[in-house]
Structure formats: structure tokens, C-alpha cells
Amino acid sequence: MSVSNLWVIAEPSGTGITSTSKELISEARRLGASVTAVSWGPHAASVAADVGAYGAQRLLHLGDLGAVLPGSVVAATLATLLNNESPEAVLIPASNDGRDIAGRLSAMLDAPVLTNVTGLRAGASLETEHPIFGGRQTVVARFRANGPGLIVVRAKSFVAEASSDGVAHIEDVSPTPSSTRAAMIRATHVEEHSGPALEDASVVVSGGRGLGDAASYEMVQELARLLHGAPGASRAIVDAGWVPYSHQVGQTGKTVKPDLYIACGISGATQHMVGMKGSSVIVAINKDPDAPIFSISDFGVVGDVHTVLPALIAALKLRS
């Protein structure tokens, strides 16, 4: 059997869709399925161009949902639509809104969810890959009964690849009112930052508890700036309040796959490594020669961040 019909939640971002949504549409197309994207927001036409470029033939668009948190209403609408159509699966980005939609829809349809998926296989049936224990093992799973099953996929699991300049055919769908009292967004706060976004940067320099104190994170920022990259962090220093959560790399933070990842004073806990082990080249600076981060590093320096980083910054400044 090959996969014939997949739906993908294409989460709006700006006037288009998020990069994870593009990755999922690309992969659904590569699996040979006819792809239906489901999206919402004020920009139907540019979203149709975006989902079409990555391989969706059809866009079911719910229109502008205003200030309501999208989870309930998108799930309720999908539940209505899925009464009449039965794709093998619905692929959902593992974002905050994506996870809200998956949980709601699962309970509405009484359908199972497979989550933390990083790979798909079209065998006798559609199979999902789940890394466990920090990626040491991969669990392969599938739904017991016919679909639609819900599959929540982690960011950066697939390559986003525009395949055509086709625009998806838009079908306007009126949102099914959800019976649940709505959760409303009252205000949005965006942190200012300069330089490339963490998840898109080609170089990421991350700091961990080994930096010793919050002020030393400036070295990480400076090194990132010199390499035209973005600064990242382990959860230990996010929890300690040194840097905002938006910097966190790992299982409960962002997944990054830069050309170069430099880990400064990070031990290499499994939950950190799942978020960065896909980087092309990994460099680690840690004073403990047995730190687990060295086991996945291409180049390691056993040393103190307080001597190595200032020297590295000085050397790079001489060149720029």
C-alpha cells in the first residue's frame, strides 16, 4: 500500500505558513499522497501560494479567527470535515497551537495521537518513527485501525522543498462553532532580537550552566554575532532566568539543525541533545573530559569557558 491521501495542518505565520508546516507538506508529497492543507488567518491567498509551492493541491481555509486561541475551533471544524472525508492521517506540527489542535481533535474523534514523530514510513501501512532515550533508540509505531490517525511531528524532521509554482485550490470553510467556552488572546508580547532567528540560523552558539553566571552569557552572544549566528541555551540557564525561553534548545525547546553548533559549558543531557544532534558540525567547550556532549562533537576542547571563549572572541575580532 502506498499513502494516498494526507491532510496537513498549515499553521499561519506572517502572510504565509510556518517552516514546520512546509516541512510536513513536502514530506506528505514525497510519500506520494495527494495533499490537503488546512489553514486559517487573514491571508488565504498568500497561504494558498505557499502550501501550493510545497506540494498541496487543495487548501481548506477557515478564514480569520480573530483573537480566539485557535485550538478548539480548528479542531471542531476538522472534526466536521472529517465526517465526510477520510485521509489516512492528519499531520500536525508540534507547535503550541498544533498540540492544542491535536489534543482536542483526538478527543472529539476518539482517535489516537502519535506524537514526537521525527520520521514517516509508507510500508504496509503508514508508520511513524519516535526517537526515545535521547535518540539512542527509535520506536516505530502505527495506528491499529484505519484512519484518520493524528500524527504530531517535531520541527526539522523533514526538509522543506518547494516543488512547483502551483497555487493550491482554495475551499473556504466556515468554522464550526466549538461548544467549549473560548480562550481569548488579549495581548501579544514579542521579544526584540537582532540577527537570524534561532531555528533558521546557520550557526548557533549555545551556553549552559558551565558559564557560571548570567553575565557570562554575553560571551555567547558576542561569539554568535561574530559568526553571524544566533545564541541558544540549555534549559538549566533558562530555568535559572539567565535567558528567555525562546533561546532554549532541546526536547522542550527548539530543534535546530545549523551548519555549526557550538556548545559552551553544556553537559549534553539527552533532552538537550535531541534538539541539536542533527547539526552538521558540533563543537564543544567543557572542562569535564567525560561530559556526554563530547560523544557527539566533531571537535572538542576540554577547557574553561572563561579562558577559551574570550580568546576565541579576540581571535575572531582580529579577522573581521
Partner: protein
């Protein structure tokens, strides 16, 4: 205001983990309270303290042979716990777990349910919203702060690049991220008090749940050993560490060579 916190006992994440012969997480060793849940307990206690009325109780599903982990949450200040434990629930998936917790919580009718955004063992991160839908309640997810103003809950909901302020009317399910508050340490008095607080262990029959509806709907086909990356060069810094990194970055063409 009555708050239920969903808490879970899990194998110690710091200990080596493995799957059993049925591809399930080996839970045969000692179980501890999931650290992720201590934040929910702390937030619940603070909200009830701020209100000046109400109580915090716990609901859990899992093996109840040893409830030391549950007692450690009681020692923080929760007043009682319900643990649903039944051999038929071994290997339950997230939706099944949500159905069981919904049935257990329906008997309490709280104003607010707190969960962690994801557990530390299964970390599907789907259960709280499934639970909200089964109860037909709103869910405010990924909260980094929670306040109750009258009958409305307002949270700061984490986003990719900051946070949104999101509100909904009680009753509500809220999921809190780790690290949002400093969970209190149990005092000696708390630990002593926890010993006599009720831990009510119930089975599926007590909750009048349909067993057929609890069957997991997914199978593990295989467990494979993932390809591992092998470690590269490693230098002990002798004063040349930074220069070696620069040379390496030149080699991989991240910085251009010789421009000094």
C-alpha cells in the same frame, strides 16, 4: 476555589531507562513524583492561598503499590489524592489516560485543573488538552504565569518569540511549563501531615468506565537502535584551545583562513 493537580509517578529520569519485552517503558524500579508536576502543585497552592479559600487535591493514574511520590506532593500542601490503578490500564495511551482522569475528576467538580505541559517519561504533551475536551472546558496551555481574576483565569502563554496574554472563564484546564515557580520544599510538619492525608485508590469499575473504550489504538511495530555519531577530535586546552577552534572553523570554511 478548588484546584485539582494531575500528578504522575514515573521511573527516575536520572537512572538508565529501558523498554520491557512488550516495548513499554520499564516501570518496575522505584517510582518518583515527576518533577514537572511539582510546578503545578506549587502554582495551585499559591492560587488557593491568594484566594483565601478552597483546597488543592491530586489525581493520578498509575501503579499504586508505592505512593511515596504522591505523598511528597501531599507534603507540599495538597489535602488528598485519588489514584486510579488497575492492571487493565497497563500500556494505556494518552487518550485512554485522559478518559480515566476525566472520569476521576468529574467526581470532584473542581474550578481549575493544572497539569504540566508534558510529562518527563512519556512526554506526549497531549493529555491535558484531551482532558479539557472530554470535560468540554477551555485549555490555557504553555503557561508561564497564572492569575485568577474573579471568574477568569489569565495566563502568559509561551510563544516562539515571547508570550501572549490569554484568558478564559472558569472552569479551565491550565498547563504550566517547568521552571515557572520555585516549588516549595516540604517542611517536617508537611511530611508528617502528609502521612495521614487520604490517598484513595480506585479501579476502573469504581469509575464506571467502559473497558472497550479504553483499548489503546496504536501498536509498536519495532524498536531500532539509532545510528550514532562518533566523537571527533578532542583537545585538552593548554592555552591553544581557542586557536585550535579557529583552525577547525577555517577547515570547515565557517571562517576564511589567513586574514590576520
Amino acid at each position: 476555589m478548588n484546584v485539582v493537580v494531575c500528578v504522575k509517578q514515573i521511573p527516575d529520569p536520572a537512572a538508565p531507562q529501558s523498554l520491557d519485552s512488550e516495548h513499554r517503558l520499564d516501570r518496575s524500579g522505584k517510582l518518583i513524583l515527576d518533577e514537572a508536576d511539582t510546578y503545578g502543585v506549587e502554582v495551585a497552592l499559591q492560587l488557593v492561598e491568594a484566594r483565601g479559600e478552597g483546597e488543592v487535591s491530586l489525581v493520578s493514574m498509575g501503579d499504586a503499590t508505592d505512593v511515596t511520590g504522591i505523598r511528597s506532593a501531599l507534603a507540599m500542601g495538597a489535602l488528598r489524592a485519588t489514584v486510579v490503578s488497575d492492571p487493565l490500564l497497563r500500556g494505556a495511551d494518552a487518550l485512554t489516560t485522559a478518559k480515566v482522569l476525566a472520569a476521576a475528576i468529574s467526581r470532584e467538580m473542581p474550578d481549575l485543573i493544572l497539569c504540566a505541559t508534558e510529562s518527563s517519561d512519556g512526554y506526549t504533551g497531549t493529555l491535558p488538552v484531551q482532558l479539557a475536551q472530554l470535560l468540554d472546558w477551555p485549555a490555557l496551555t504553555f503557561a508561564t504565569s497564572v492569575v485568577v481574576e474573579g471568574d477568569t483565569v489569565v495566563v502568559h502563554r509561551q510563544t516562539e518569540d515571547g508570550f501572549d496574554e490569554v484568558g478564559a472563564q472558569l472552569p479551565v484546564v491550565v498547563t504550566v511549563t517547568a521552571g515557572v515557580v520555585e516549588p516549595r520544599y516540604a517542611t517536617f510538619k508537611g511530611i508528617m501531615a502528609a502521612k495521614s492525608r487520604p490517598v484513595n485508590v480506585v479501579g476502573i469499575a469504581d469509575l464506571a468506565l467502559d473497558i472497550a473504550a479504553l483499548d489503546p489504538r496504536q501498536d509498536i511495530v519495532a524498536v531500532e537502535t539509532a545510528a550514532t555519531k562518533s566523537a571527533g577530535e578532542k583537545y585538552v586546552d593548554d592555552g591553544e584551545g581557542a586557536a585550535r577552534i579557529v583552525a577547525f572553523l577555517e577547515q570547515i570554511k565557517i571562517v576564511s583562513g589567513g586574514a590576520s
